[in-house]
Every structure is written in structure tokens, then in C-alpha cells.
């Protein structure tokens, strides 16, 4: 197992007390695997990703659990050691390619800077490798692009460059936090193909965070669904998308616009994501759930294996099974 998160909880402390944003998150990624996390805004997807690299702000506290990366607990090692892992063993791609690059440094220099840091090469060799890295992410005329500033490039090109930067080492694990959200659909497909290709070529594991079911179905072998800082369903992508067990997953899939029948109104999930400051006693989705009963509101469901390798945290799902 490359990465193993066990029971990780994260709290943010503010002026008005603390808020639990992640609650007992457990997940694992094996070598070469692509794992997806879906959920709506505020469900804790990005916090999960940032907690792995320990990039959360000073007001965040990872209260318990452990994050094992190749057997070492990332929560216990010193700042210097996690710094050494960033970029070298774990790469990260952020959502907005427009602002993720140094605005006044040429692309080639930026890449060379990261390559120099992670591989023992000379300045000149680093620059050559930078050009090669641009070629690897399918940028035409890499020499020309290397001499350009970020503002001269399109969003799709910038996201490729960000991926090239994240893959410079190359790392064992690539965390991509909504890598395609800011891009249009055709560019999205190219970026996804690129991620898949890099995954194949280097056997890099990928943790992809998205709210786009399309991304999940195209890329991921396994999928986690998050709601309110908890994992509510997990399993193979096929299982989760074709045979969702949790009402939240069902509602998410229902909310997808149907291109074949454009006249049909969009199905939104009623209510809004819960206020994390006031966690309910029972199931956190109960307030918006169409099938929730009294029991759901007072008792918290645990993640149980409802089908082989398919877990869900729902009382109703279990009942269904029992009936």
C-alpha cells in the first residue's frame, strides 16, 4: 500500500470555537492506482488532499489517526522531512492553472528550478530536462514555450505545465485537486488523458479530487464519495456509479443533466450542505435525504461493507440488504 489514511480527523479552530471538517477519514491507494474523491463543495475533499501534504493552515489541527506513506506516518515526521517529500514523492496539482505559476518567471526556468531541486543535475541539464518535461505533457514547440511567461499561455497549456511541474521528480503519488474544473470540456479530456498516460508510464498513483462524475468514470478505478467531512460510500467506480447504495450518491448522480432529454428539469438535491459547526447526532445527510427515517436522525451510521468491496454509511442501505 502506497498511501494509507487511517481515521484521520481535522479540526479548524477559529474565533468562535472549532469545527470538525474531516471526521474519521480512512482511505488507501496502492501503487499505480487512480482513486477518485467526489462530493459537493465543502464536503472536505480538498482538506483531505491538503492534510496528506500537511499544507493546512496553522488553525487546522489533525487531531487523531495516521497517514502512512510508504510506511512512514506523515503526521509524525518533522517539517524538514515533509518538505523533502513534497514534490519529490508526492506531487500536487491545484484547481486554478491561471494563478498556479510564478507570473514573472519564464516557464523553462520554473521547471528547471523544480528539476534542479529534485534531481542531482547541473543547471544546463535541468533546462534540457525541463524542455523534455514540456514535451512529455504534449506541448508543441517546447523550446518556444520554455521561453515564455505564464500570461502568454492558455489555461490548458498552463495546467499541462503545472502537471509537468508536479511530475518533475517524478513522484510516487500525484494529488490532483479539481485539475479540470477551470478548463473547457475539450481541454478537460486532454488533461485527463495526460494524467492517465503519466499514470501508465511512471506507475504513479493518482488521487483525483473532483465534483465531476465524468472525470471519475473516465479515470478512476475506485471512488470515494464524501459528504460533510465523512466518507459516505466507497467502492469500485463501476459499482458506485452503476449501483449506488447511499442516497447522497444517488442524488448526486440524479443531479447530472440528461443530454438526451434536455426538456427535463434539473434535479437538485434539496436543502444545503450542513453547517459543520452543528453536526447532527444522527446521519449527517438525514436532513436532505428523501428516505431518512426517525432512526437515521438519532443514530450515526458506520461505513459497512454492503457488497464485496463496496462500503456505504447508511442505515437504509443495510436494511435493504437485510430485508
Amino acid at each position: 500500500m502506497l498511501l494509507e489514511m487511517k481515521d484521520v480527523s481535522v479540526e479548524f479552530t477559529g474565533m468562535r470555537g472549532s469545527v470538525q471538517v474531516l471526521k474519521n477519514i480512512s482511505l488507501n491507494i496502492s501503487k499505480g492506482e487512480i482513486l477518485g474523491i467526489v462530493g459537493e463543495s465543502g464536503s472536505g475533499k480538498s482538506v483531505t488532499a491538503l492534510s496528506i501534504l500537511r499544507l493546512l493552515g496553522n488553525n487546522a489541527k489533525t487531531s487523531n489517526g495516521e497517514i502512512l506513506f510508504n510506511g512512514t506516518d506523515l503526521l509524525k515526521i518533522r517539517t524538514k522531512e515533509i518538505q523533502a517529500l513534497r514534490g519529490k514523492k508526492i506531487g500536487m496539482v491545484f484547481q486554478e492553472p491561471m494563478t498556479a505559476l510564478h507570473p514573472t518567471m519564464k516557464i523553462g526556468r520554473q521547471l528547471a528550478e523544480v528539476i534542479e531541486r529534485h534531481r542531482a543535475v547541473s543547471k544546463k541539464a535541468a533546462f534540457r530536462l525541463a524542455v523534455q518535461a514540456l514535451k512529455d505533457v504534449h506541448i508543441h514547440d517546447p523550446e518556444l514555450v520554455a521561453a515564455k511567461y505564464p500570461f502568454e499561455l492558455s489555461g490548458g497549456m498552463r495546467q499541462r505545465i503545472v502537471i509537468a511541474l508536479a511530475m518533475a521528480a517524478p513522484p510516487d503519488l500525484l494529488i490532483a485537486d479539481e485539475p479540470t474544473t477551470a478548463l473547457d470540456v475539450t481541454i478537460q479530456a486532454e488533461i485527463l488523458n495526460l494524467i492517465k498516460e503519466l499514470n501508465n508510464k511512471n506507475d504513479t498513483s493518482v488521487l483525483i479530487i473532483t465534483h465531476d462524475m465524468g472525470v471519475i468514470s473516465q479515470l478512476c478505478q475506485r471512488t470515494l464519495v464524501m459528504y460533510g467531512g465523512e466518507i459516505v460510500e466507497s467502492g469500485s467506480t463501476n459499482g458506485v456509479l452503476k449501483n449506488p447504495k447511499h442516497p447522497y450518491t444517488k442524488a448526486l448522480l440524479n443531479a447530472l443533466p440528461d443530454l438526451a432529454d434536455p426538456a427535463q428539469p434539473l434535479q437538485a438535491i434539496p436543502g444545503e450542505i450542513m453547517d459543520l459547526r452543528h453536526r447532527p447526532n444522527g446521519c449527517s445527510f438525514a436532513a436532505r435525504c428523501s428516505i431518512a427515517g426517525e432512526y437515521c436522525r438519532t443514530h450515526q451510521p458506520a461505513l459497512v461493507e454492503i457488497l464485496p468491496q463496496h462500503y456505504t454509511a447508511c442505515w437504509k442501505g443495510e436494511k435493504e440488504q437485510n430485508d
Binding site: 498556479a100 505559476l101 514573472t104 528550478e113
Partner: protein
């Protein structure tokens, strides 16, 4: 296909005018500032060529001579040629003013960036020391420092550099606080780049603009302050030809021999004014919020 590429390249070519140059071209006041400073610097540097008088040589017989063909700006109370004293003095007044600001800006950037990037105790310590400096009126503190260090031109310059540091620390710190939260700095952290390198390569270059603007605007002020300290006897000591010191001695003779304090005063005014014009122009160029 190749024809298409050719036309694209032809379109690209004419756009060669640099935006900085474009903005500067239409800014008349800045040009006036540049010309004044250029002339003053050039004449100061060429002083030995332009005048045949030694700025410190006393020739008592020719004291208090009015402007004439022989002495364009007249002579002072011991018969020294005022023009040559102004030209030689320009080296000191301008040089020390620029040097003071260079020192203070450099220290300010370093302290401010460290303060903003690391935060916590380091930030508290640095900023509280800056608050201490800011608690005193600038000129009073500079006078006290210059007096404590001992009256000399170098100490006056040092005093000015010290009292001006807080402005630069605050500027650099606030820019750093903004940049630290920018995604590209965060990505640099995730790419594993060393913090020192992030500060030097990612934060400092992007926080320079306001510091440069402040520095150019401050040079004029620093020249005035050096002259002020000189005027109060805390700067250059006689017989060093320094504008402030010349005015300090000369103002007593203003009614009888008007040229003595007037000409150094004009030069002081012109150079301070010119640096401010340049500063304004540079602000227009570097400040993305200005819409000119």
C-alpha cells in the same frame, strides 16, 4: 499551412514597443525630472572640468563677490567659488541621498519579507522594533541618531537610513502576506522548493514594485534630510562642500549677499523636486492600479 504560419509571424513582429517605454513616452513631467537629475549628476561628475576653482580653497581677497563672468554664482565669506562648491557638493548630496535609500530599502525588504513569510514570533519582534522607530517623528529621531553617532556626513546618512526602514519593512511585509497566500507560492511549496528560495525567487521579485516606487519618492526626501542635518550642523562638517551646510552658513548673509544661500537652495529644490517627478512617473508605470 506554411503560408499561414508566415502571416502569423508577420503580424507578431510590429508589436515591439515595450509597455514601460510606452507609458514613459507620454509622461512629460517624468522626463523633466530625468533631465534635471541627469544634468545635475553630469555637472557634478564633470566638476573638475567645468570649473577651475578648488571648492575648499580659501581666497579671502575675493570674498562676497556677486555673480559675474568670473564667478557665475558669486563667492562666499572666504572667497570660495560657489558654483564649484555646488557642483562638488552635488556628488555628496545626491550620492548620500541615494545611498541612504538603497541601504534602507535593502534592509527593509529583507526584514519585511522574513517578517511576513514566517510570521509568529519573528514577525512580532521585527514589527515591534519598527513600531519603536515609528513612534518618534522622523526628523527628530534622525537628529538624535546623528548627534549620538557624532556629526559627520556618513553618520547623517546612516541616521536617515535607520529612521526610514519601517516604511520599507511594512511595505515588503504587506506584499509578502498577500503573495504568501497566492496559489503559485503555495504550489512552489508543494513542488518542494526550499523556503529561502521561495522568498528570494518567488516573493521578493513580485513585491519589488511598491518598494521601488517608495524608494524613488524617498530619494528627494533623503536629500532634503541630509541637507537639513547639514543645516543643523549634524551632517557634513566645514569645509566640506555640502548644500545643506552651505545654506546653513549662507542664510545669515541672505540680506546682503543673496546669492550665497540662494543658489545651493535652488539646486537642492530642483533635485528634490526632480526625484519626486521621477518617482511619480515610476509609480504610474509600475502600479497596475493606476490607469494612465
Amino acid at each position: 499551412m506554411s503560408a499561414e504560419i508566415q502571416t502569423v509571424k508577420q503580424i507578431e513582429k510590429p508589436i515591439t514597443i515595450h509597455p514601460v517605454w510606452y507609458k514613459l513616452k507620454n509622461n512629460k513631467m517624468t522626463w523633466i525630472g530625468f533631465v534635471i537629475i541627469f544634468v545635475i549628476i553630469l555637472t557634478s561628475l564633470l566638476a573638475p572640468v567645468l570649473t577651475s576653482y578648488d571648492p575648499t580653497k580659501i581666497y579671502i581677497v575675493e570674498k562676497f563677490q556677486g555673480p559675474s563672468g568670473k564667478h557665475w554664482f558669486g563667492t562666499d565669506e572666504v572667497g570660495r567659488d560657489i558654483l564649484s562648491r555646488i557642483l562638488y557638493g552635488g556628488r555628496l548630496s545626491l550620492g548620500m541621498g541615494v545611498l541612504a535609500i538603497l541601504i534602507t530599502a535593502a534592509i527593509g525588504i529583507v526584514l519585511g519579507t522574513i517578517s511576513g513569510f514566517f510570521g509568529g514570533y519573528i514577525d512580532q519582534i521585527i514589527m515591534r522594533i519598527m513600531d519603536m522607530i515609528l513612534a518618534f517623528p522622523t526628523l527628530i529621531l534622525a537628529m538624535a541618531l546623528a548627534a549620538a553617532l557624532g556629526p559627520s556626513l556618513q553618520n547623517a546618512m546612516l541616521a536617515i537610513a535607520i529612521v526610514k526602514i519601517p516604511v520599507y519593512v511594512r511595505l515588503a511585509r504587506s506584499e509578502t502576506l498577500v503573495l504568501r497566500e497566492k496559489l503559485f507560492v503555495k504550489s512552489a511549496i508543494t513542488f518542494g522548493i526550499h523556503p529561502v528560495r521561495i522568498i528570494l525567487k518567488h516573493i521578493v521579485p513580485n513585491s519589488l514594485s511598491p518598494v521601488i516606487i517608495q524608494a524613488t519618492l524617498d530619494i528627494g526626501d533623503a536629500i532634503l534630510m541630509i541637507a537639513t542635518l547639514g543645516f543643523l550642523g549634524l551632517g557634513a562638517q566645514p569645509p566640506t562642500p555640502e548644500w545643506g551646510a552651505m545654506i546653513s552658513i549662507g542664510w545669515k548673509y541672505l540680506l546682503d549677499f543673496w546669492w550665497y544661500p540662494t543658489f545651493p537652495g535652488i539646486f537642492l529644490f530642483m533635485s528634490s523636486c526632480a526625484f519626486n517627478l521621477i518617482g511619480d512617473g515610476i509609480r504610474d508605470i509600475l502600479d497596475p492600479k493606476s490607469n494612465s
